[in-house]
Amino acid sequence: MLLYILRRAASAISVIFVTLVASYALFLLAPTDPAGTICGPKCTPDRAAEITKALELEEPPLLQIGAYLKGVVAGRDYEIGGTVRECDAPCLGYSFALGRPVTELIGDALPVTLSIVGGAAIIYFGTGVLVGTLAARHRGTTLDRLAVSSSLTINSVPYFIVVLLVALYLSGVVIPRSEYHPLLENPLAWAAGLMAAWLTLGLTNAASYTRYSRAAMIESLGQDYVRTARSKGISERRVVYRHGVRAGLSPVVTIVGLDIAYQLTNTLFTESIFGLPGLGLLTLRAFNTYDLPVLLGSVLVGSTVLVLMNLLVDIIYSFLDPRVRIA
């Protein structure tokens, strides 16, 4: 098992490395005048030259990537206009537009996004699995039809419209006004401020999860081993929740892992409409201001999150299903 995890971790690191090199090449090696882009529309030639020098853009590509990698591992210094800006490891670059290291910017934004996605995931996974299982167990009844049709209705409204409607009519009225307070400073304010985002992201996704879980549970409850469990004379509740759910949930867990990874890098609507300063907003701002170092940093963080979640899902899955356990 340990060997399996180590092997998977090694392959995860190599994937992240390849992403890093590829995105560096895309943003900073491509013949697109990166220094001018970073510098912005009102750029003076002096400023552009400073940036070129600070980023070592005139060095051969391999040396540039080497310097970037060294920054990630050991930190590096950027000299801009005579002053030296320290960028501690893991240094993901330096935002000339904001005058701060990218790592710091992401370090501020990541907890916000993690809070939003984590809280929402608990809501959608919990609600989705519960309602989906109930619907599967009472297949064909009014309850089942209600669950399926409301899930389809919720999913057929575009997500940004749902967010907008909640922000316009509910946030600040029924749900506390949306704002971000760090968890460790004031847990209550943290929860209250995120409530709107949690409910919106959580309940819209719960609709999909209801349908996944319902389908998975219907399949699982139709299996021969569920019939065997019934033939042992154990209660229907135990049959459904021990034998059925265990097998039915495994595929749903895979989807959750990938969804969380996706949402961590794509909570753009939720964050921008509710005004929560997370990764999505940071990336959006970087897009608008051509802040290439920040974009590069978020791509790296995003791909790392995706790879890590995949690894995590595989490990959880091997605990759930003994057949994929590798000795």
Binding site: Q223, D224, Y225, R227, T228, A229, R230, S231, K232, G233, I234, S235, E236, H243, R246, A247, L320, D321, P322, R323
Partner: protein, 374 residues
């Protein structure tokens, strides 16, 4: 390991003559007239309403089985053999199944019994072995877990005691190294071993009635023989009543005391195994015997029964077998097409009954069918 007293390789490909004395030895108890049957099925009807109409899966099935005897239920797919046995276990979904008639297990009526009472019978008095041990065991729980669950469900015992019992049962069904195997998962077992574990799970509560639904169909021929020996062996020790569902007449000769041949949801022939395999009385049974390929002698073409079983949605009028029966014309007055024959006990032959309009089935068998048999 308690050694089986017959070598395990015995049985698979022996010819019929050597089966018979063995089958006789195996029936520990001869049928005593008037003996209280443990399982009594009377006029059982099982219907499933579907979008296309009502499927009549079992239509008036009646049989009984005393302790210590093995009844083989034989028939094609869709003849109702599995459905009727699932009904005995109360495994049909109550909401989507209509059942009538009577099923008595140890004198207790099962049809219409509350789910709670049924749970007390299932797995305790009556247990079931399923066809494919690969899909019938839960892949996520260890073998021991699954056996212990059944045991603890019906007995108030500690986990430790249940585990010991599971190990004992695995040992009893001939699984080597049970202390280690008990913690393994089904995918770590071979097919035959998995079916042994399945049997251990079914027998953990000493059920008086064991229903085996084609337990050897998914296994290799050599493993089949071992499993059959094991079931016969365990039955001798436990003295339980065994219902053995199969479509393999070779298996029937091997294991059963009695045969019930089913066609289109009903019994067409019922009686002691040697008599039915010796002189079958129903054209459907003849057809089944003719469609067994010859293992020795000159291999000739197979003789399948022409046509297909009738749709359970639209049964033919008269005898359900009449559209496929080559002897239909020998019954005067087109009776086969108009009147459904009853299951009639043979006065000359106690314990036998058949559902056919033919006046002299033994003679027809001898003159028309026997020469064609492989």
């Amino acid at each position: 390991m308690t050694a089986p007293d017959t070598p395990v390789t015995q049985g698979g490909d022996m010819d019929q003559t050597t089966h018979e004395p063995q089958a006789a030895v195996r029936s520990r108890r001869p049928t005593v007239p008037g003996e209280q049957p443990y399982l009594e099925v009377t006029d059982l009807q099982v219907r499933f309403p579907t979008a296309d109409g009502v499927v009549q899966a079992v239509d008036g099935l009646t049989y009984s089985l005393p302790l210590g005897r093995t009844l083989a239920i034989v028939g094609e797919s869709g003849s109702g053999k599995s459905v009727s046995s699932m009904a005995v276990m109360g495994l049909h979904d109550r909401k989507s199944t209509f059942m009538s008639g009577s099923i008595k297990i140890g004198g207790r009526e099962v049809v219409g019994m509350s789910e709670k009472d049924l749970m007390g019978i299932r797995g305790a008095q009556a247990a079931m072995i399923f066809q494919d041990p690969q899909s019938s065991m839960h892949p996520y729980f260890t073998i021991g877990d699954q056996i212990m669950e059944s045991y603890r469900n019906h007995n108030k015992v500690t986990k430790k005691a249940a585990r010991d019992r599971a190990i004992e049962m695995l040992d009893r069904v001939g699984i080597p190294n049970p202390q280690r195997r008990v913690d393994q998962y089904p995918h770590e077992f071979s097919g035959g071993m998995r079916q042994r574990a399945m049997i251990a799970m079914a027998l953990v509560n000493d059920p008086k009635l064991l229903i085996a639904d084609e337990p050897t169909t998914a296994l290799d021929v050599t493993v089949q023989a071992q499993i059959l020996d094991l079931i016969a062996d365990l039955q001798r020790d436990f003295g339980s009543a065994v219902v053995f569902i199969t479509h393999d007449l070779g298996v029937v000769a091997e294991i059963a005391d009695d045969i019930l041949v089913m066609y289109a949801g009903n019994a067409v022939e019922h009686g002691p195994v040697r008599k039915i395999l010796g002189t079958p009385l129903h054209p459907y049974t003849w057809g089944l015997l003719e469609s067994i390929p010859a293992v020795s002698g000159t291999p000739g073409p197979l003789h399948p029964i022409p046509g297909a079983p009738p749709s359970l949605l639209a049964m033919p009028s008269g005898c359900a077998f009449n559209p496929r029966c080559e002897f239909r014309e020998r019954v005067p007055g087109d009776l086969c097409r108009t009147l459904r024959p009853e299951l009639i006990a043979r006065t000359a032959d106690p314990g036998r009954s058949s559902r056919c309009h033919l006046k002299d089935p033994d003679r027809v068998f001898e003159t028309d069918v026997l020469p064609r048999l492989p």
